[in-house]
């Protein structure tokens, strides 16, 4: 619905964004691919040589890779599960008539404003520390031995921290979706004799499917590259117990200066992300139409 003149203008207007993103994607990515075939360490410059798939072999057969892959999936899946279920619950609660709804909403949203490094440090030291953390105090008060979260359940602890950060987002999306639900539909269901439980599963939940899709899509994008929380709490340890792919590649390239190995890892991460993206995009394609 437009003229040739406006179509030409449109192409002109869209090109800076497209070209920049294309450059951002293609230039570094092709360099990464090239490096991944080299024996290239920043500590020994000028010694680069072509070694084919050796870096990939090392990376993919390294037990650390499988640990990191599993951790990545657990991290993403765990946080998604907690935030979606918790988000729906919180949204249902916040949607009830109450006094001071606006303030409660701000309280609930607040964790989203906290930068990852801050929330990780605060949780690690002031809550989960086995000596002086609040949880330790609470355990002692109840007569239990304090639990050393990061020594015994590092990944679980990180999942909790990240879930706390993303719960506000999920809640907000769910709440917005909930508020757009046509009340007459619920009233019609009431007239048709559906009980509260059935109304939720047959009307409210299907109405929120789009919102759930959005939460999954956007959170997955961010959760796949969780980094700072791991860096400031566990440094990926103990061992590789809390290392995800992102952290593994970071450690390999910027801590061990193994550019070749790190690049191979980066490419593997890109491929894995593409697999996830493929399924996500298909899901959105179905759910985000219209």
């Amino acid at each position: 619905m437009a003229t040739d003149h406006s179509r030409v203008a449109a192409r002109f207007m869209i090109s800076p964004a497209v070209l920049l993103l294309l450059g951002w994607m293609i230039i570094p990515l092709s360099m990464t691919i090239y490096f991944s075939f080299l024996n290239y360490n920043l500590l020994s410059p000028g010694m680069e040589e072509w070694i084919g798939f050796t870096n990939y072999e090392y990376f993919l057969t390294d037990p650390a890779f499988f640990a990191a892959l599993g951790n990545t999936l657990l991290l993403v899946g765990g946080v998604l599960l907690i935030t979606i279920v918790g988000g729906i619950g919180l949204a249902l609660l916040l949607d009830q008539p109450m006094w001071g709804q606006g303030i409660v909403r701000i309280l609930v949203i607040a964790p989203f404003f906290v930068m990852p490094t801050v929330s990780a440090l605060v949780w690690k030291n002031m809550f989960m520390n086995p000596v002086n953390g609040l949880f330790a105090h609470a355990a002692k008060a109840l007569g239990f031995a304090p639990f050393d979260f990061f020594a015994h359940a590092p990944l679980f602890s990180i999942i909790m921290i990240v879930a706390w950060q993303w719960l506000p987002f999920a809640t907000l999306i769910m709440l917005t979706a909930l508020q757009s639900l046509d009340q007459e539909q619920l009233e019609a269901a009431k007239m048709d004799g559906a009980r509260k439980f059935n109304r939720f599963f047959h009307i409210t939940l299907p109405h929120m499917s789009r919102a759930i899709t959005v939460v999954i899509l956007i959170q997955t994008i961010f959760l796949l590259s969780i980094f700072a929380e791991i860096l400031v709490t566990t440094n990926g340890g103990p061992g590789y117990a809390s290392t995800n792919i992102t952290y593994l590649v970071y450690a390999q390239s910027l801590l061990q200066f193994d550019v070749g190995g790190g690049s191979a890892g980066g490419i593997v991460a890109v491929i894995l992300a593409n697999i996830v993206a493929f399924f996500l995009m298909r899901m959105i394609g179905k759910n985000l139409e219209t």
Partner: protein, 333 residues
């Protein structure tokens, strides 16, 4: 100033030809109405004239000059949109002044013209409000005001009254007609409502599937419809049709009779039928009659006619007002 000529104009979206090549002359000062059912291409045709869409082929000339390649703003036309398309963040004054500001007129000149338009359209009392604070009718006036200040060669209206309630629509119809009388500027008006077309137009263009079915004055279309489509589209309630034996008596494939041209009696007549619903409007009565052959007929009669569901009536047509059509639906002269 203000004649528009379309020569072999056609429009396709992708492979779909929504308007096959057509020719049309709009004369200076004329009020031309494009009418047709929804999806007939009337709005597209208007947008082609406006320059909001490119023609696929053919030429559009305005005042004898080829305007086919000219940008919308340079064609010297003003348009009133269905949704009014007022700028919600600007006051009424700024809305009306916008085209003048874009034309880089000096402020004094802009003020003078805006005030004059406000006076003509009676919108001075709300000139500093925003569109969101106005009623539908007031918004409509502002949209017209924004068109007037440009002193265009022609006005284009795209179903401007369809968002108003029935009473307001009648009022605005009169106001637009009056405006045309005063300004004497060419107006091209798109509507799906044949009443609007009949009451406002100097010239009606009936469209179906992108094809011009007939062009003529309201009464020409009423009296001499070129085909069954025009015959049934113009006039309210719709013309009744009957084919078969009854039609062949008149050497036609189909004959048509308008509801207002039917006579009826309780005793005898050529077509016997039973009254289904009788609508008593006071001034008129509409009877919906099912004939023996199964045809549905609408009859318009005087307000005090006492008919009820189930009554048997005999209908006959005024002989001078029978329309005859051949098997292709074309009128037989």
């Amino acid at each position: 100033m203000g004649s528009i000529k379309l020569e072999n104009v056609s429009k396709s979206f992708g492979t779909v030809e929504v308007i096959p090549p057509l020719n049309l002359d709009i004369n200076e000062g004329e009020f031309v109405v494009f009418v047709g059912p929804s999806g007939c291409g009337k709005s597209t045709l208007l947008r082609l004239i406006a320059g909001l869409e490119d023609v696929t082929s053919g030429t559009i000339s305005i005042d004898g000059q080829d305007a086919t390649e000219i940008r919308p703003a340079r064609r010297g036309l003003a348009m009133v949109f269905q949704s009014y398309a007022l700028y919600p963040h600007m006051s009424v004054r700024k809305n009306i002044a916008f085209p003048l500001k874009m034309a880089k007129l000096d402020q004094a000149e802009i003020d003078r013209k805006v005030n004059k338009a406000a006076e003509v359209l009676n919108l001075a009392s709300y000139i500093d409000r925003r569109p969101g604070q106005l009623s539908g009718g007031q918004r409509q006036r502002v949209a017209i005001g924004r068109a007037i200040v440009r002193e265009p060669k022609a006005f284009l209206f795209d179903e401007p009254l369809s968002n108003l309630d029935a009473a307001l629509r009648v009022n605005m119809r009169l106001e637009i007609s009056e405006l045309h009388q005063n300004l004497k500027t060419t107006m091209v008006y798109v509507t799906h409502d044949q009443v609007e077309a009949m009451t406002m137009a100097d010239k009606i263009v009936v469209l179906r599937a992108g094809v011009i079915e007939q062009v003529g004055s309201p009464l020409e279309l009423y009296r001499q419809p070129a085909n069954k489509f025009v015959a049934s589209f113009i006039g309210s309630p719709k013309m009744n049709f009957i084919d078969g034996e009854a039609a062949s008596k008149y050497q036609a494939h189909t004959i048509g009779v308008r509801p207002e041209h039917l006579r009826f009696s309780r005793e005898s007549g050529p077509w016997k039928g039973v009254v289904g619903v009788a609508e008593h409007l006071g001034s008129d009565t509409f009877l919906y009659v099912t004939l023996e052959g199964g045809e549905q007929f609408t009859v318009r009669t005087v307000g005090n006619a006492e008919f009820h569901h189930g009554d048997v009536v005999y209908l006959s047509a005024e002989p001078e007002n029978i329309y005859r059509f051949d098997e292709n639906g074309l009128a037989i002269k």
